[in-house]
Symmetry: C2
Subunit: 238 residues, 2 copies
């Protein structure tokens, strides 16, 4: 396949500003719905048979929103999902997303279960804490949460970036490495060294946007909302 372009943090920020700005005019709701749906679809593809619960940990920004949407779709796909969302965002969009999740019978946890409870009751952790815009220090309460994630044996699926990783330099703080990484729209430079299962979701970049930014993205098949871009995936040699 053509070599994949990995975005700098600046390029990723500009991409989102462009898509949701005056030119491309995507409402956040639409892109978040597609991003979250692709996250859930990839999890269904990679982990079709999880007998235990799925725990989604949501951060305070759009990455957390993607996790809320993904959780709602995971319930539609038959998963038993719980959410830990310690710093809820006080915006209508986020209140609505929480409300939608509650009507899917998703339980919101008051605290993160300890690692022995995690191992016992949960088959997958969805890390939607921080995405492409993360910078600097990991603030409380996410510092402790990410520290705990380094020690769990439950597989972790990270949304867009493994939380706490430098968006360009990768895992320089020696934090957890997820089993599955789901990049959105285009992978970021910090994910270039990632050796695990790596999928791309968020199939919504307009033709004109790709021309304007000279961006090459991997080829999706049919109506799939995802494509496997793992380094050891033989199917993506086209």
């Amino acid at each position: 396949m053509k070599s994949i372009k990995y975005l700098t943090q600046h390029e990723a920020i500009v991409m989102d500003q462009l898509l949701m700005g005056d030119k491309y005019k995507f409402p956040t709701e639409s892109l978040m719905e597609l991003a979250g749906l692709s996250v859930a679809s990839i999890i269904q593809k990679v982990y079709p048979n999880i007998s235990k619960k799925v725990l989604t940990i949501c951060g305070p920004g759009n990455n957390g929103g993607d996790g809320l949407v993904a959780s709602r779709h995971l319930v539609q796909f038959g998963y038993d999902v719980e959410i830990f969302y310690p710093k809820k965002t006080d915006k209508k969009l986020y209140h609505d997303l929480v409300c939608q999740c509650k009507h899917e019978d998703i339980k919101f946890l008051g605290e993160l279960p300890d690692n022995s409870l995690l191992s016992k009751e949960y088959g997958l952790i969805v890390d939607s804490i921080f995405g492409y815009s993360f910078k600097g220090d990991i603030r409380a309460p996410f510092d402790k949460i990410i520290e705990q994630l380094s020690k769990t044996d439950v597989p972790i699926a990270s949304v867009d970036m493994p939380s706490g990783w430098d968006v360009e330099a990768g895992n320089i703080k020696n934090l957890f490495t997820p089993a599955l990484l789901i990049s959105l729209a285009a992978p970021k430079k910090g994910a270039e060294s990632f050796e695990g299962i790596h999928y791309l979701g968020g199939r919504f970049l307009p033709k004109e946007f790709l021309r304007e930014t000279n961006l090459t993205i991997p080829k999706y098949n049919g109506c799939d909302q995802f494509v496997n871009i793992s380094k050891n995936n033989n199917n993506n040699k086209n």
Copy 2:
């Protein structure tokens, strides 16, 4: 399979009011994105190899909006799409949807090509003129358009209801019958007699909503955004 419930027009209207109202709090943008994506995915499933163009005809309401979203996704899937949208809706959501389509290089036609041009250049017509809320007479310019659709030999895929059909009594005006009908969320009574290829899309009804309304919907597989509910489909006998 369990017998499918076909909604009355009143039930369909109440369903949408509930989903987008104060209880379930779905933004129109989210549901329209999922509906339109499912329409495009079903078309990709049923007509994977259309060498000619696809023409989407959009009506003035939400059914037209679903067609705009579907068209955008069809381009993502590799189709060459044009849109005829004679009565554009003067709301921000619709201006934005048109803008998004234009950035996918979709051409908006000033008039409907005549039937000889349709046959020559188009492999599929997507009818997203009227949906579940249609009632009464077919107003201009859609009366002539629907009359023309009765005479074309290009296959038609109708979104939610074949346009002009009575939502409960079906094709009582003896209008065109589509090759493919894509019901959204739940099929409507007027589609009960439909004998062609029939899919259900719009996989977003919350668990609590299904309990509250005592509604049974067909079982979707995996992360599929659609399910085949055609009468002659052997796969749906579960």
